[in-house]
């Protein structure tokens, strides 16, 4: 088997949250497709994306849940906090109200995830410097007070988007190395898949794959 899309050793689950229109889906799109999606429609309920990254030589598959920011989907999106290893909390630097709502998003995250979940604060649309409504210093202070990682990014230009997703993964990986994150706990948001030759690592028990390795080429 060549290096297929299933050749990875960990799955990390992420959730992206924040007010409507802050650019959650665009951040995801920029990260998975490396493109900016103009005219992005409102997310209905939830969207999903994956990408494989590398941290300290380990291949890690990110499963990213992009939730709807609209209030009417709040109930349904709450269920995706369960089992998230990383939470990307997004606000729009040009709209102060989206920043003011962060504390309620943070409360939800703290209540619905486990203590080892890494929370990363992203101030999106930093390309629109002229319309800035929230200063970097203010948000940075908020992040520090609440023990969050923080960066200002732009889904349009791609600035700091990779960094936000990767730094979160590094922090999660660090937690695993330190033993702070229990891989066996069902809700840890991390799955370990020990590599197996010739197939998706660690598929369901008893999943023997007859003939797979006898491939003639």
């Amino acid at each position: 088997m060549s290096a297929g899309p299933y050749n990875y050793s960990y799955i990390f689950k992420y959730i992206i949250i924040g007010d409507m229109g802050v650019g959650k889906s665009c951040l995801l799109h920029q990260f998975t497709e490396k493109k900016f999606m103009a005219d992005c429609p409102h997310t209905i309920g939830v969207e999903f994306g994956t990408r494989i990254i590398e941290v300290s030589g380990q291949k890690i598959k990110l499963q990213i849940w992009d939730t709807a920011g609209q209030e009417r989907f709040r109930a349904v999106t709450r269920s995706y906090y369960r089992g998230a290893a990383g939470a990307l909390m997004v606000y729009d630097i040009t709209r102060r109200s989206t920043y003011n709502h962060l504390s309620s998003w943070l409360t939800d995250t703290r209540n619905l995830t486990n203590p080892s979940t890494v929370i990363f604060l992203i101030g999106n649309k930093c390309d629109l410097e002229g319309q800035r409504d929230v200063t970097y210093e203010e948000a940075s202070k908020f992040a520090e007070e609440n023990g969050l990682m923080f960066v200002e990014a732009s889904a349009k230009t791609g600035d700091n988007v990779e960094e936000a997703f990767l730094e979160t993964a590094k922090k999660i990986y660090q937690s695993i190395q330190d033993g702070r994150l229990d891989l066996n706990a069902a809700e840890s948001g991390v799955q370990h898949k020990p590599s197996q030759p010739g197939g998706r690592p660690g598929t369901a028990a008893g999943g023997d794959q007859p003939g797979r390795d006898n491939c003639a080429c």
Partner: protein
């Protein structure tokens, strides 16, 4: 249920009939206590054995039992005379022994099965000697409604029990065991589905109310064939119960079970299968920790009121009346296992964004258009899919066609409980290559194909080319 100690004056024994089975004649003793009666068949030899004990141990006069006889014992006239004699004997014995009620006599007349006090007495003895086994059993303890009703009645009514060594009933033992039990199964087993009378008695199982409050640490409660009106104190289990199963109880709404206002703090699994539920109502919000919800074999038509159940991971609504699914991902959140088999679903479009699903059972629905499967092809976490029993499952190459929609994922997808075989995967690859050719692109030769597949593909390509020529 009967209570002898409260109805001593209203107790009567009769032998109304007899049945002949092969060599043996059974006399049907009918015991009436107050408004309750039951029938218990006994042979003469059993009467004889009883009589010996009663004479020896309890001072019954020796010569009142009709004599043994060797000849003509099957003639109707003889049996009739004996029937009358035995009836007279029983009445005499009952009058003589009604204060002491020796165990052997109680059991002979079936009091230990139908009478509140004597049933509890047996239960207490059993629980005293087997407490450890009862409490350690993984499957929990099975109660019949009669036992729980007896316990409830005994605790609520003052039953005047004569002070006598034989009539010690240590109710404490029962309560002690009950308070420690973690798993309890209660089942009402009437004579048939429509007849709810208990065995050979006039006790109507449907009318027995019982209280569940003696169970202080219950984790799992399984109720079968009861009616919710019979249960008292179900609410007392709210703080401890993790699993609640209410099956075949004709429940018409979830609210009947979860009641109102107060939260079920620990409830994780709720199984209300085989009832008459028409709607998923909002009382489910009273169980915030709910992970597994099973509503099979009901009459539900839509999925609703589940959006706030943020811990739900298993949902099973098989054999209901769901015909259409719209944007399911806005109605339920992060669920991993969904069973909607045996409904009337035609389209898979509503499932297209259920990205969290790992297992989806849509068997025995009405999906007939293969194109519907494309909506499932983007469910990247899906590794188990059942479509058998749908019209499309009868198509030629059904499995291959379904698997084709899953692309790279196909090899890990268990379809209808079977992993794809190598020939199937090869065919999927061939179809993929053909599709690319048809779309006018050059097939990606880096795809690993075995030699046989390449030949097969060549043939197929030739065949399609020929088709295009003609």
């Amino acid at each position: 249920m009967a209570c002898f100690w409260l109805n001593q004056d209203a107790t009567n024994v009769e032998i109304l009939s007899y049945i002949q089975q092969k060599e043996a004649v059974f006399y049907n003793i009918q015991v009436t206590v107050g408004e309750i009666f039951w029938v218990i068949p006994r042979r003469y030899s059993e009467f004889y054995a009883l009589h010996q004990t009663l004479v020896m141990d309890h001072g019954l006069s020796k010569d009142i039992l009709p004599d043994k006889q060797l000849l003509h014992i099957r003639s109707p006239m003889f049996i009739e005379t004996r029937r009358k004699g035995l009836e007279k004997y029983l009445r005499h014995a009952l009058t003589f022994l009604q204060q002491t009620m020796p165990k052997v006599f109680v059991n002979f007349l079936g009091f230990n099965k139908y009478d509140i006090f004597f049933l509890l007495q047996d239960m207490a003895v059993k629980m005293f000697s087997e407490a450890d086994t009862i409490l350690s059993r993984d499957k929990g303890h099975d109660f019949i409604t009669l036992e729980l009703f007896a316990l409830t009645e005994f605790l609520q009514k003052a039953i005047p029990v004569p002070e006598c060594s034989e009539h010690k009933c240590d109710i404490g033992v029962i309560l002690d065991v009950c308070s420690q039990l973690q798993i309890v199964n209660v089942k009402a087993e009437g004579r048939s589905n429509t007849d709810t009378l208990y065995e050979k008695s006039s006790i109507d199982l449907c009318k027995l109310q019982f209280d569940l409050s003696p169970f202080k640490t219950l984790h799992m409660l399984n109720l079968e064939k009861l009616s919710m009106q019979q249960l008292v104190g179900l609410g007392n289990l709210r703080n401890t119960l993790v699993t609640l199963k209410v099956n075949k109880c004709r429940v018409s709404s979830i609210a009947d079970v979860l009641q109102c206002d107060i939260k079920w703090k620990e409830l994780e699994t709720l199984d209300l299968s085989s009832n008459d539920i028409k709607q998923i109502d909002s009382t489910l919000l009273l169980a915030p920790k709910l992970r597994n919800l099973l509503l099979n074999d009901n009459d539900i038509t839509t999925i609703e009121n589940l959006s706030s159940m943020s811990n739900l991971s298993t949902l099973s609504i098989a054999n209901n009346s769901i015909k259409r699914i719209n944007e399911l991902h806005t109605k339920v959140g992060n669920i991993l296992y969904l069973n909607m088999s045996q409904n009337g679903i035609q389209s898979c479009e509503g499932f297209s964004k259920m990205y969290s699903l790992e297992s989806l059972d849509l068997s025995c629905n009405k999906i007939f258009d293969m194109k519907e499967i494309q909506h499932l092809g983007r469910l990247l976490n899906l590794n188990n899919l059942a479509l058998t029993g749908n019209p499309l499952a009868g198509f030629v190459d059904y499995r291959v066609k379904v698997l084709e929609y899953f692309d790279e994922q196909a090899k890990d997808l268990v379809l209808d409980n079977e992993k794809p075989t190598q020939p199937e995967l090869d065919k999927v690859n061939v179809l993929k290559a053909l599709r690319i050719v048809r779309e006018g692109k050059v097939p990606d030769l880096k795809i690993n194909l075995s030699l046989s597949v390449l030949t097969l593909m060549q043939n197929l390509v030739l065949a399609t080319c020929q088709d295009e020529v003609f």
